[in-house]
């Protein structure tokens, strides 16, 4: 039987955010918004969900007078992505 896919990751926007965060030290909200094409509202909601799950860390700070929101993948999040990708491969039979 096929294994279930992590519902936190099997959502288009959350998967996009996590994919963007894999392999970078950190990314800010504006970059994530541009890359995903999501609305600020929806992106905020999904970032909160990932943060609540412990998959990412969010740091809010100011650069001069500008607020900046930085996101980083956590070891828990990286592991969850790894499991998700492996499970997805069994669905898609991506052996290579």
């Amino acid at each position: 039987m096929l294994k279930p896919l992590d519902p936190l990751l099997h959502s288009e926007l959350r998967l996009a955010v996590m994919s963007l965060l894999v392999g970078v030290e950190e990314a800010d909200f504006v970059f994530l918004k541009e890359e995903t094409g999501a609305s600020a509202g929806n992106l905020s909601v999904q970032i909160d969900k990932l943060s609540t799950a412990g998959y990412i860390e969010v740091e809010k700070k100011f650069v001069g007078k500008r607020p900046q929101t930085l996101c980083r993948i956590t070891p828990t999040g990286a592991k969850a992505m790894e499991v998700y990708v492996e499970t997805l491969k069994t669905y898609l039979k991506l052996e290579k």
Copy 2:
């Protein structure tokens, strides 16, 4: 910017069904139910959606007195899966 994922395929159960149908001539409802672990009701709904989209063909027949529901992937469905997998690879950076 990341390309959108086909919402018809980016659903766990529909993706599971399509994955099971890729590369087989046909599969019956009971097999799909066992492999996915889905309820008959939910599986029926998702099969109808895939059929309405033209991604699969559904044939209902009798084997002796037993009703049998056979599902087959269509060329449209196979092409949609191909595009979905390619798009997903850009998310997951699965180059290999």
